[in-house]
Assembly symmetry: C2
Homo-oligomer: 235 residues x 2
C-alpha cells in the first residue's frame, strides 16, 4: 500500500512535469519568434505570439489546478511537497517569460518601418538565441533531473547580462547620433531589457529546480552583472 501510494504520487508529478516541459518549449519558441517579429516588423508573427501567450496562461492554470489537486489528494510530506510547490513556482516563471515575449511582440506596431542598423539587429538576435538556449537548457535539466548540469548553466546568465550591457550602450549611441532614432531605440531598449529579465526568470527556474532535486540552495550566488553595471552608468 505504501509502495502503491508512492507510485501514484510520482505518476501525478510526472503529469505536472509534462506541463512544465510543454511550457518550456512554448517559452523557447516565443522568445525567438518575438524578437524576429520585432526586427522584421512582422505583424502576423507578432499576432501569433500574442495568441501563444494565451496558451501559456491556460497551461499555467492547468498546472496549478493539477498541483493543488495532487496536494489535496496525496497529502505529500516534506520533500514531495517541496517538489509540487517548486513546480508551481517554475510555472510562474515560465508564464512571466511568456508575458515578456508578448510585450516584445506588442512593440512591433510601435517601431513601425524604422530600420534597425544591421549590427544592432544582429546583437539583439544573438542575445535572443542565448536567452532561448538558456531557458530550454534549464527546463531540460530539470525534467531530466540533472542537478549538476544546472550549476554550470547558471554561468549563462552572466553572459546574457554582459550582452545586455553592450546592447544598452549601442542603443544610447544611436539615440545620441540622431534624435529620430529615439522612439524606435527606446522600444529596442525595452526589448533587450525584457530578454535580460527572461534570463533572470530562467535563473529562478534553475534555483527552484536545484532545490527540488537536492534540498539545497544552488551554491554560488548568481553574478549580478547588470547591477554592477548600473553604477557604471548603464542599466
Amino acid at each position: 500500500m505504501g509502495e502503491h501510494t508512492v507510485t501514484s504520487f510520482d505518476d501525478d508529478l510526472e503529469e505536472v512535469d509534462k506541463l512544465i516541459r510543454e511550457m518550456g518549449d512554448l517559452a523557447g519558441s516565443m522568445i525567438g519568434d518575438a524578437t524576429r517579429s520585432l526586427l522584421s516588423s512582422d505583424n502576423p508573427l507578432a499576432q501569433r505570439i500574442i495568441s501563444d501567450d494565451a496558451i501559456m496562461d491556460a497551461k499555467q492554470r492547468e498546472l496549478d489546478e493539477r498541483a493543488i489537486t495532487l496536494i489535496a489528494r496525496r497529502q505529500p510530506m516534506a520533500q514531495d511537497l517541496r517538489a509540487v510547490i517548486g513546480a508551481i513556482r517554475m510555472a510562474g516563471d515560465l508564464e512571466r517569460i511568456g508575458d515578456l515575449a508578448k510585450n516584445i511582440a506588442k512593440r512591433v506596431g510601435a517601431i513601425g518601418q524604422s530600420t534597425t542598423p544591421k549590427s544592432l539587429s544582429h546583437s539583439i538576435e544573438s542575445m535572443a538565441e542565448m536567452v532561448h538556449a538558456q531557458t530550454s537548457g534549464i527546463v531540460d535539466r530539470y525534467v531530466g533531473r540533472d542537478a549538476e548540469a544546472l550549476k554550470a548553466l547558471r554561468a549563462g546568465d552572466e553572459k546574457i547580462d554582459i550582452k545586455y550591457t553592450a546592447i544598452f550602450r549601442e542603443l544610447l549611441t544611436y539615440m545620441m547620433e540622431d534624435p529620430r532614432n529615439i522612439t524606435a531605440c527606446t522600444h529596442l531598449l525595452f526589448c533587450a531589457k525584457n530578454l535580460e529579465r527572461i534570463g533572470d526568470h530562467a535563473t529562478n527556474i534553475a534555483e527552484n529546480a536545484y532545490y527540488v532535486m537536492t534540498g539545497n540552495q544552488l551554491p554560488i550566488s548568481r553574478p549580478k552583472l547588470d547591477e554592477t553595471a548600473v553604477s557604471d552608468a548603464t542599466a
Copy 2:
C-alpha cells in the same frame, strides 16, 4: 477535535498573513523611498533600500517555510489549501515589488548629478504615490478580507498606466530636445516602467486575494492600457 484542528489552521494562517502585512508595509515604504532617492540623488537612502530588499527576501523565505510546514502539518483540503498557496503567490509578488524598488535605487549612481526637470520629477513622484497607495490598499483589503473593496481598487491600475504613458511621452521629448539628457532620461524611463510593473504586481495580488476569499476570479479583466498604448507608439 474537528473544531480544535480548524482553529489551529486559522492560527497558522494568521501568522502567514502577518508576514504578508509586514511585506506589504515594507514594499510601500520602499516604493516611496526609492523614487525619492533617485530624484534627489540621495545615495545613503538608496543604500538603505538595497538593505531593505534583503529583509524582504528573508521575510519571503520565512513565509514560504511557514506555509509549507502548515500544509504538511495540517494537510488542509480545497479552500484552505488555496488560501495557503495564494499567500505563497502574494509573497512572490511582494518580493518582486521589492526587487523593482531596489532596481530604482540602484540607478541613483548612474544618473549622478544631472538635474531632472521639475515637472518631470513631480510626475514621477506622483506616480510613485499612486503605486504606493495602490499596493498598500490592496494588501490592507486582503488582510481585512474585504473582497468587494478589491474590485474597486483594480481601477487604480488603469490610472497608473495612463500616468506611465504620459511620463513616457514627456521623457521622449526631453531626449529629443537635447542628446545630453538621453542617459539620465533612459534611467528615469526604467524607473517609471518599474513603477508601472509594481502596479501590475499589485493587481496580481488583488486577483489572488479575491480568489482566496471568494473562490472566484475577479469579474472584469484588468484594462490593459499600457498595451493599447503600445500600438500608439508608446511603451
